[in-house]
Symmetry: C2
Subunit: 243 residues, 2 copies
């Protein structure tokens, strides 16, 4: 049985401010909830139409479909909704390959970029404070559970990159990613969907790269930022033999 | 001045059935409308708060912001909405590299895949009849105008691929795309978001490829289909020198 206060609290977690105050976030659906249950994330509350979820927490609430619909942000709720604690970020391991995001706005883009990091073994994703919150429910859902395997840290990107030696960014007219030698360590910066990498961050980029464009017309202005990240990460990783 | 019939007609074009009957579709926003105006697409009607668009057609209707909001599917309408004719598809050029989509459901995925085709000079995109309609407004918007430079054909994918010689698909356990020699011609098949390539199409695949996964955990189940297409197209194209 769901209380009015529970409904109100879960809805409040749609707001970044409330997530910050309570240090909690919402996860939905069988597959993604399971990924978080299997991870080190600390479960706070779990609500489901399936009572077998009661094994995960004494804070289990059995709900019917109508109640689940009241707390779900899905048009078709999928059995379970859970609240987890936002963990303290681990220290960033700068000795590996780190992906840095400069003001990514779209939750779906951030979610698929987290999924890409997981796929390509990028353990650290650093985000400018202007990047969309990674505990936004759309980000959590589109990362498909990869969230639990990538260390995501929000920081002052400009100050941080000023101390970094090798910093890669893509720009029109940069060196072809297919021809430039790419290292195993360094920071790869991806810019905002509409404006690319900001002027402040651009001045800190040591190697300017570009993804070559093909075809006779070459009128495409840009690639979707998550697709660009996919191509760049693949290119950085393809020559590493220890797969 | 907008008539009730115009509003009703524009709304009706949100439905595939109505688009099929009238062979028309809707494009919105300054940037994307301009891409279509610069293309061979035939303009039918144009509605804008900016009267300078009247130069493009005698079927220009000046609207105020309130009227534009009534016909727009955007939460913040962007100056212009246009109706274009759906063109007859050109013949597919099978002598090049063709991308084939097997039941892509998400309009955003189809839109970004069209943008990828444009970037990588893939002039022909063929879609199973179960793939989301490419004149769906979300597809048109997320393709960012690339739509006007890629020949998109809906066909019986199974019957078509049965005649095709070189047919590539990605599967867990396939040959690494980083190691397998990739040709300049052939058909690359991308499968459905949840289920991958269907059994019927799988039996027609001649070369089974895979995108290697990195990192120690390797728990990521899959990549977003548009990101997978980005990595594969980049890999097929990277060794072609005539850029």
């Amino acid at each position: 049985m769901l209380t009015k206060n529970q409904i109100k609290f879960i809805h409040s977690l749609n707001q970044k401010k409330s997530r910050s105050i309570h240090q909690m976030f919402v996860v939905e659906g069988v597959k993604v909830v399971q990924e978080f249950l299997n991870s080190n994330y600390e479960l706070v509350d779990i609500f489901s139409t399936d009572t077998s979820y009661s094994k995960y927490s004494s804070n289990f609430t059995a709900v019917n479909l109508k109640e689940l619909a009241k707390i779900s942000s899905f048009s078709t709720p999928n059995k379970v909704l859970a609240i987890f604690k936002i963990p303290l970020p681990s220290l960033v391991n700068w000795s590996g390959l780190v992906l840095a995001l400069d003001s990514i706005n779209d939750p779906g883009n951030l979610g698929t970029i987290i999924r890409l990091c997981d796929w390509f073994g990028i353990t650290d994703l650093v985000c400018s404070e202007t990047t969309v919150d990674c505990y936004n429910s759309k980000v959590v859902q589109s990362s498909m559970g990869s969230h639990s395997r990538v260390n995501i840290t929000y920081l002052d990107l400009e100050a941080t990159l000023a101390d970094s030696k090798l910093c890669y960014g893509t720009f029109m007219g940069g060196a072809s990613i297919y021809e430039h030698e790419l290292p195993k360590t360094g920071v790869i910066v991806m810019g905002n969907e509409a404006n690319g990498i900001s002027k402040e961050i651009e001045s800190l980029i040591t190697v300017r790269l570009s993804i070559p464009r093909f075809g006779s017309l070459k009128q495409t202005e840009s690639l979707n930022v998550a697709n660009a990240a996919a191509i760049i990460l693949s290119e950085f990783k393809r020559n590493i033999t220890e797969k």
